[in-house]
Amino acid sequence: MAGPVIYVIDDQQSVRDALGEMLSVFGFETETFESADVFLKKVDPARPACIVADVRMPGTDGIELVKQLNSRSISLPVILISGHADIPMAVAAIKAGAEEFIEKPVDDTQLVAAINRGLAQMHENINSSRSHDELRERFARLTPRQTEIFQLVAEGFTSQNIAEKLGISVRTVESYRAEIMEKMQAQSVAVLVRQAIKLGRVIP
């Protein structure tokens, strides 16, 4: 799989070329686009990337770009840059879901920090979504009886309580619990409870 790429989008060629050059000198793989519309047509949603885009552009502007990406469920971090930054614009950018909002002329330290943070965030998101999927798979493998007991354990009932509730022996409950923890790859009851929360089975 290819490494992360930085997409630089600015309607002014001198700016996007210079920013692209700087980021490439810094060791990033870069790609420049003259407008958000062109970018949206060509973007590969699967490729890990970070977007650096101007706010004011003809056609789709920076804030609109963030919204479009959200609506298409493309979760790439977006760093917005602007020559006439004001507070309402910054608020709108962050509310729309931009990773960071930086004024022009861009401070490279700030930009690189924001890119790194965005990329790290993206990796974490990928990892967490991957682990989430796995958790679901494991949970799906539980038998109905195991699912019932998983629910009661997660809700905080003791083995004694569960045995009484279901009219089975405490020993049987404990053996079910051991099977569940093995299937869910949970080292402790605490982990099991956290998994239940992640799966939305219980409300913390």
Partner: protein, 555 residues
């Protein structure tokens, strides 16, 4: 000595005596003037009744009354009594002297009230009607006073025939005294303190005096009988002075003519009849001179008013041009900050790249060098923006030179581009290479184009997001000119708005000043061109203006 009123008012007690003493001084001064003028005037006596050929003293005191109020008739009363007794040494009885003085004072007080209250006379005589009103009141006074006096004298013991003989010269003498002296004194009182005379003016006045005395010399040389024939020559200097200096010129010329005429007649020991003939002619001359003078003054004053109004309008217009330039600029300020930020952003990124490249052990110097070269270009670009901005802001007189049309268009588009781009509007320029230069003020022409582009931007962004503006110029002949065009695909202009488009303060925008197009018009017209709305259609709204080509002969 204090009156009870004065004693009761502490503030008035300090001012009132001063005012009273000033009024008293003025009264005494005019009394002295009256008596002196009576003494100087040539006196005929007809059966014991003194008949003055003209009455300058009366004119002076009448001026005071018109100027300060009818109560100064007291001066007239005292003046008549004193001159009758001390100067003329008349044989008349005291009751008659007092009666004559009372009648004269009362009648002229009435004439004063008539002029001030009924005719609403402006004492500075700024209008022809004021001069006419003054002459009317004077004539009324002269006729009425004469009638009253005649009545009294008839009652005394003169016969009707004698009265008629005395009557005409009396009316004429009083009227001429008022007509010649009263306007002069009023003008002097109005202009007080009198302006200093320039050397040139003194020379010109001397010329008039010489002219008047030249004419009088001719009259005198013609002999007493033929003198009347040459009287009309006096019209020349009087009308000339009136034409040159208005009412003031007429007043002074008339006074000199009258004095000279009286002197000449006295020299020839002219009889009462000749005197009266001349005085009637003099009255015609006086009326003519005053009317011409008043008309000239009135026209000069209205011209002055018109000039003043025009000057103020020009001032306002200049302010408005500046204000609109300022609004234009403040409106563009954020867009321009963006415009300058762009090259700065690029330059900074390139500088960091170059720095990073040089710091490495295996420094890629060629790449760093390319970055630095690019960076210099970016800095120059920012400098260019700042320079154009400064040119645009600079106030002052038009700086006329040959103007390169493509350059003006480029500059204007560059200034407007950021704003247009920010609003998603495409700004395009038709290639205008090969156009000849026009003659004018580069910044002003740029402002006209910018104004039109800004109007287009506002019109487009008021309705929809995206749009396009096309700017172009082409050469036309007969007469040789360059026609500029700014076309947009905005919502168009409705008929009502289009009609009033070029009127000042007409605006369809919420924040508009309504001065943009009038300023464009004045700039274009100052360049000898025309500006008009070529099409008001939605989707193809177009303004055009022309600037004449540089004239090779005048260059």
């Amino acid at each position: 000595m204090r009156s009870p009123d004065e004693a009761s008012s502490a503030t008035a007690s300090t001012q009132l005596p001063q005012r009273v003493s000033r009024q008293f001084a003025a009264a005494l001064l005019f009394l002295a003037v009256y008596v002196a003028l009576e003494w100087l005037s040539f006196i005929h006596e007809y059966k014991g009744v003194p008949i003055t050929p003209w009455n300058p003293g009366l004119g002076a005191v009448f001026a005071l009354m018109i100027f300060a109020g009818p109560l100064y008739a007291v001066v007239l009363f005292a003046g008549v009594v004193i001159s009758e007794t001390l100067v003329l040494k008349t044989n008349l009885q005291w009751p008659i002297i007092l009666g004559v003085a009372a009648i004269i004072a009362a009648v002229y007080a009435g004439a004063t009230i008539l002029a001030r209250n009924r005719f609403r006379l402006d004492v500075s005589l700024v209008k022809l009607r004021d001069v006419v009103a003054l002459l009317g009141a004077g004539l009324f006074g002269a006729v009425f006073a004469t009638l009253m006096l005649s009545l009294m004298l008839v009652l005394d013991d003169l016969g009707w025939a004698d009265v008629i003989i005395a009557l005409v010269p009396l009316v004429v003498g009083d009227t001429i005294g008022i007509a010649v002296v009263t306007p002069l004194v009023l003008r002097i009182l109005h202009k007080h303190p009198l302006p200093a005379l320039s050397g040139l003016l003194v020379l010109e006045i001397s010329l008039y005096v010489a002219l008047i005395f030249g004419v009088l010399w001719i009259i005198a040389g013609a002999g007493a009988v033929n003198a009347v024939k040459f009287f009309y020559l006096l019209f020349l200097p009087v009308v000339l002075a009136a034409l040159r200096y208005g009412l003031d010129g007429a007043c002074v010329a008339l006074a000199i003519s009258q004095l000279g005429l009286v002197g000449v007649l006295q020299y020839f020991s002219a009889d009462a009849q000749t005197f009266t003939e001349f005085q009637i002619l003099m009255l015609v001359l006086t009326t003519t001179g005053l009317v011409v003078g008043a008309i000239v003054s009135e026209r000069e004053r209205s011209e002055e008013h018109a000039r003043e109004a025009e000057r103020r309008f020009k001032e306002k217009e200049a302010e408005a041009t500046q204000a609109s330039r300022f609004t234009l600029v403040s409106g563009m300020a954020s867009a321009l900050a963006h415009e300058i930020n762009q090259p700065m952003t690029a330059a900074r990124a390139l500088a960091r790249s170059a720095q990073e490249l040089i710091r490495r052990p295996d420094a890629d110097l060629a790449r760093a060098d390319a970055n630095i070269a690019n960076m210099i270009a970016q800095v120059d670009h920012a400098g260019g923006i700042v320079r154009r901005m400064r040119d645009f802001l600079r106030r002052g007189h038009p700086r006329v030179s040959t103007v390169d049309v493509p350059l003006v268009l480029d500059d204007a588009l560059m200034l407007a581009n950021a704003d247009a781009a920010a609003k998603g509007i495409r700004l395009s320029l038709a290639k205008s290479n090969g156009l000849p230069p026009v003659y004018g003020d580069r910044v002003q022409l740029q402002q006209v184009i910018l104004n039109l582009i800004r109007n287009s931007i506002d019109a487009i962004s008021a309705t929809k997001r995206d749009g396009a503006i096309f700017v172009g110029a082409r050469q036309l002949s007969a007469p040789d000119r360059v026609e500029f065009s700014v076309l947009d695909d905005g919502p168009g202009i409705d008929e009502d708005t289009a009609k009033r488009l070029f009127e000042p303060l007409m605006t369809s925008k919420h924040e508009g000043l309504g001065l943009g197009l009038p300023i464009c018009t004045s700039i274009v017209e100052a360049h000898g061109g025309k500006i008009w709305l070529h099409s008001r259609a939605p989707g193809a709204t177009e303004f055009r203006f022309t600037i004449p080509l540089e004239n090779p002969r005048s260059a």
